[in-house]
């Protein structure tokens, strides 16, 4: 496809072309910075509208990158969201002056989707309060900039918990509803976006609209899983549930295929409340299974445990010993496994989170471990999301790519239960169009471990993973930002053009979250 060059800082004729991020083909490049035309007049109008904007180096510099740490950009100014009214005034003024607005919640994207390449950075964490908890109806109304962890903190006082959320504590509700939100209970409860009952949204032209599956339905469908293209989520009503600690079991495999088959068997049969796979490369594959109640745990032990082909910790250690004794040239790998196990395992068993053999506050336990043992200033986590039947192939092929590019890496696999009535929400999202019942996702995360890799090395790695997706007809948890060149290849021209036309209607100046998808 031949795309004509585009004036830096403007929106090109096809903002969803494979090379839409103007630069060298298939190498990483940040989008061009918006050129700042009319900024001062915009700022003056914004101040008149009563919206505070910080323009200092310290204020803007704090947003220079996202959790990925490979995309860099600076806004011209930062607005901290304080109310839907202020957000509406900001968007109206930005629309009139054609100033780009990039919305940021937790900023935990890894492809630069929450990085502002000029214009305004709208930080939603200023709106982060719990507005109402209804313990009878099991719902909560929150401001959308709230972190899932802050929500959990307040819900716990009422002996409640959210349903499912990313395992990192600091993603925001609004940012997550726009991209998905996968938890180790998603195979049972769906993704975080499925928990939203209704939203307050500020449209790109500055109207404040309440929407749900029964009110302003089309807007609701586009905003959920919509990567922030069709509006800023300012409030959300979510389903919640009674809090329970959980009992956790681990099974160890040396084969990815076998572990995935067992995971899918458990999910199909609703045999556990939580399930997922976390690996140390493809050598130690850990299937984790957990339960909210003793009854569910007992039923699992009775009906399903014997069918799992994984080992307990001790049995697996013996297998590994035998394996590496016969392969002395792999001693380095064995040593790495041992070291990693010694560092990571205690994190999941910290006594202050265990009571009567049950894990309390699983999201804290997991998130702390994730940040401590997987987090770093560079995080590159390409993924593949496929229907159940394509998943083994996707993971095995992705695993081969990881082996080629990095010495050490982790794979994280979970299922997402799909809700047939939410199909319209899933259009052009992380949920693959041909998935029935469950979609499965695998994140491929290299361990950077202080090594220095070029951005092009990372990009080549991500391309190799995403090419598998194109080949298999899969989708991705993340397909925006630096990976948006895959959007047409993945979703096809017809669907993309339909969404692009909707976007142009909703956002005439194409100001909201520019460079993310469109």
């Amino acid at each position: 496809m031949n795309i004509p060059p585009v004036e830096p800082g403007t929106v090109g004729p096809c903002p969803v072309a494979p090379d839409a991020l103007q630069g060298i083909k298939r190498q990483q490049t940040n989008p061009a910075r918006w050129n700042g035309a009319g900024w001062q007049a915009f700022v003056a109008d914004l101040r008149t509208a009563g919206v505070e904007l910080a323009e200092s180096r310290a204020a803007c510099g704090a947003y220079a990158t996202d959790a990925g740490g490979t995309a860099y950009g600076q806004p011209h100014g930062v607005a901290i969201a304080r109310s839907a009214g202020e957000v509406a005034a900001l968007l109206r003024t930005a629309q009139a002056h054609r100033v780009p607005v990039t919305v940021r919640g937790g900023g935990l994207t890894t492809e630069g989707e929450s990085v502002a390449y000029g214009g305004v950075l709208l930080d939603m964490t200023g709106m982060s309060r719990v507005l109402a908890i209804d313990a009878t109806a099991l719902t909560v109304r929150v401001e959308a900039g709230i972190y899932w962890h802050s929500l959990a903190e307040e819900l716990r006082r009422e002996k409640l918990d959210y349903l499912s959320a990313p395992l990192n504590l600091t993603s925001s509700v609004g940012g997550t509803l726009g991209v998905g939100g996968i938890d180790v209970n998603s195979a049972r409860l769906g993704c975080s976006a499925d928990q939203a009952l209704s939203l307050q949204v500020v449209t790109p032209t500055g109207e404040i609209v309440e929407c749900s599956d029964t009110e302003n339905v089309e807007l609701f469908q586009r905003v959920i899983l919509g990567y922030g293209q069709f509006g800023v989520i300012t409030e959300a009503t979510l389903r919640v549930r009674p809090y329970t600690p959980l009992s956790m079991h681990y099974y160890y495999y040396s084969s990815l295929r076998t572990a995935i088959e067992d995971l899918q068997m458990l999910d199909r049969n609703d045999a556990s409340d939580y399930s997922g796979i976390l690996t140390i490369m493809d050598c130690a594959v850990n299937l984790l299974v957990a339960f909210d109640s003793d009854e569910r745990e007992a039923a699992f032990r009775r009906d399903w445990e014997a069918r799992l082909r994984g080992h307990g910790e001790f049995g697996f250690a013996l297998c590994m010993l035998g394996h590496y004794a016969l392969r002395p040239w792999k001693a380095g790998e064995a040593l790495y496994l041992l070291k990693r196990k010694q560092a990571v395992f205690p994190e999941f068993r910290r006594p202050e989170y265990m009571r009567d053999n049950k894990m309390h506050d699983r999201s804290v336990v997991f998130s702390r471990a994730v940040w401590k043992h997987w987090g770093s200033r560079n995080m590159v986590i390409p993924d593949l999301a496929t229907p159940a039947d394509k998943f083994v192939a996707a993971v095995e092929r992705g695993n081969a790519v990881c082996r080629k590019f990095f010495a050490h890496y982790t794979l994280y696999c979970v299922g997402i239960k799909l809700r047939p009535e939410h199909r319209p929400h899933y259009e052009m999202s992380c949920v693959p169009p041909d998935a029935e019942g469950w979609a499965y996702g695998c994140e491929f995360e290299p361990m950077i471990e202080g090594e220095v890799y070029s951005r092009d090395h990372f990009q080549a790695f991500k391309n190799a993973i995403y090419d598998i997706g194109v080949d298999l007809g899969a989708s991705y948890y993340r397909f925006g930002g630096m990976m948006k060149g895959y959007i047409r290849r993945t979703f096809g021209d017809e669907l993309v053009d339909k969404h692009l036309a909707m976007k142009r209607r909703a956002d005439p100046a194409m100001i909201l979250n520019r460079d993310v998808i469109f």
Binding site: A54, S56, A67, G107, D123, L169, R368, R377
Partner: protein, 319 residues
């Protein structure tokens, strides 16, 4: 010996520190968070440019143990406050207070032998409670408890090397119960051979007190000392909770929520609204019959927001 902490350059922007930061909770503005400060430092922002958050930080230390990059965040605030300090409009008042404490310390006798108790000015202002603590601990009470040094640490004031030497002289290798959490944090670096105890943990370990902590109590840990020795104390207080059944002021990350968000300009002043809001938030969803505090400063905040008894830990022991 613990590995040297890292500096702001390592901040990855995970925001875990924001979740526990009372200053962020109050302002909901990323500039008022340890992450905001670290990120601003990455852009070479100066202490003067960061004056507002540097003044607003209560040095509770909650951010230190949660930072997965091991950045000494409260240390960063203290260091920046030293740069900021000379320009503070209320510096003179702080210097006068520091000088008053230093004068009292100059008149102090050499510390008695054996285990020592360094109460700090808050407890000294309550002589009967001080006497009770002394009796309970059974330690000699130091007349020079480094109150001027603690204040300087907090406000970015100067500590002359001579004064520091005189204060520390003969303290290493001894058992010290320290009332001021910030001083305790610093002494862990200055006195590697000392056996340091926070006043709270020292008192809560005494049977006459521990026995009287009830399952209906809300027990408020003093955050600075707790976070300065987090790995050990998280286990210590988990045992206390298991043994007594009391509720603790720990959040889901097992970080101690401070009752006070007291900012630098109000250091010696009355409670501000933010403190009252913070204490209210701590009690939200809880129905304790009694609040037990390790720090006297927290008592005032709780007394403002509820009408259940608020006791200092030492008051639990029978006369």
């Amino acid at each position: 010996m613990a590995a040297a902490p890292f500096d702001h350059a390592r901040c990855s922007g995970c925001s875990l520190c924001r979740l526990v930061c009372p200053m962020w909770r109050q302002h909901r503005d990323p500039r008022f968070s340890p992450e905001g400060l670290a990120r601003a430092r990455q852009c070479d922002a100066t202490a003067a440019e960061l004056t507002a958050p540097l003044e607003a930080c209560s040095l509770c230390g909650a951010c230190d143990p949660v930072c997965p990059e091991g950045i000494d965040l409260s240390g960063m605030v203290m260091e920046l406050r030293r740069d900021l300090s000379p320009a503070l409009p209320y510096r003179q008042a702080l210097d006068a207070l520091q000088a008053k404490f230093a004068l009292a310390a100059a008149a102090a006798e050499a510390p008695a032998a054996g285990a020592l108790f360094l109460p700090g000015p808050a407890l000294r202002a309550h002589p009967s409670l001080l006497a009770r603590v002394k009796t309970l601990l059974g330690y000699a009470c130091a007349t020079d408890d480094g109150a001027d040094i603690a204040l300087a640490l907090e406000t970015g004031g100067e500590i002359s090397p001579a004064r520091r030497r005189r204060f520390l002289d003969g303290l290493d290798g001894r058992t010290l119960a320290v009332g001021d959490g910030l001083l305790l944090r610093q002494l862990r670096q200055w006195l590697p051979g000392a056996r340091l105890q926070s006043l709270g943990a020292a008192l809560a370990s005494l049977m006459p007190i521990r026995r009287r902590i009830a399952s209906t109590d809300f027990y408020v840990i003093e955050p600075r000392a707790y976070h300065a020795d987090y790995e050990r104390l998280v286990a210590y207080y988990d045992r206390l909770r298991a043994e007594t059944g009391c509720a603790l002021n720990l959040d889901l990350q097992r970080i101690a929520m401070p009752a006070l968000t007291q900012a630098l300009p109000h250091l010696a002043g009355p409670l501000v609204d933010a403190d009252v809001a913070q204490a209210r938030w701590m009690l939200q969803g809880r129905t304790p019959q009694r609040i037990v505090v390790e720090s006297l400063a927290d008592r005032a905040a709780f007394e403002r927001v509820c009408d259940i008894p608020v006791l200092h830990l030492a008051e639990l022991a029978q006369d």
